[in-house]
Amino acid sequence: GAGVSQSPRYKVAKRGQDVALRCDPISGHVSLFWYQQALGQGPEFLTYFQNEAQLDKSGLPSDRFFAERPEGSVSTLKIQRTQQEDSAVYLCASSLGTDSYEQYFGPGTRLTVT
């Protein structure tokens, strides 16, 4: 079966541009997570969904970051008016649930803001 996929794999944006990052979770996985990984650091939690409900968005760094999962499957992370500090790898993960289930990670999208 297919794993978690993310697109695009690489994105270069000029400062001030809006970007949209897509995540396709494993089929049947209820929970979906977004993380931001800066160079030399571990992934940092951004937000997570259970089906279409966004249950925790405490990690979103500013109101320029927005995530959605309208049909409880594919998710999009949108960053408005990108800044240089947004440059990072954005990881998506999915799991069967949140209670004692492991998360399966996608390959990530490397965003570079110039």
């Binding site: 929970s31 997570f33 993380y35 030399g40 650091q41 571990g42 992934p43 940092e44 939690f45 997570y48 259970q50 249950l55 925790d56 405490s58 990690g59 990881l91 993960a93 949140t98 209670d99 004692s100 492991e102 998360q103 399966y104 990670f105 996608g106 390959p107 990530g108």
Partner: protein
């Protein structure tokens, strides 16, 4: 606040040497613990996990980890490393009923052939 700290930023070993990577966590309540590995050019993969029960857990590729509650530790071990174990290793923790995971900053392991 939840936190995970990994003691070593970069570890260099020769093949057949024994490995122990330190991980300490700070979390209130029941905790789930994980070790992930990221091989060069690949995405994060789960090595092993602890949810409950036997505190000594065994994972893939001969790795194991021991949950010591009194020390808030979950150290990763392997008795004899191989060149193919060269990778970055991340320790992570999450509440048993929570969504978000908290990761350490990772340890880069280089195994010399």
């Amino acid at each position: 606040a939840q936190s995970v700290s990994q003691h070593n930023h970069h570890v260099i070993l020769s093949e057949a040497a024994s490995l122990e990577l330190g991980c300490n966590y700070s979390y209130g309540g029941t905790v789930n613990l994980f070790w992930y590995v990221q091989y060069p050019g690949q995405h994060l993969q789960l090595l092993l996990k602890y949810f409950s029960g036997d505190p000594l857990v065994k994972g893939i590729k001969g790795f194991e980890a021991e949950f010591i509650k009194s020390k808030f530790s979950f150290n990763l071990r392997k008795p004899s490393v191989q060149w193919s174990d060269t990778a970055e290793y991340f320790c992570a923790a999450k509440g048993a009923n929570a969504g978000k995971s908290t990761f350490g900053d990772g340890t880069t392991l280089t195994v010399k052939p």
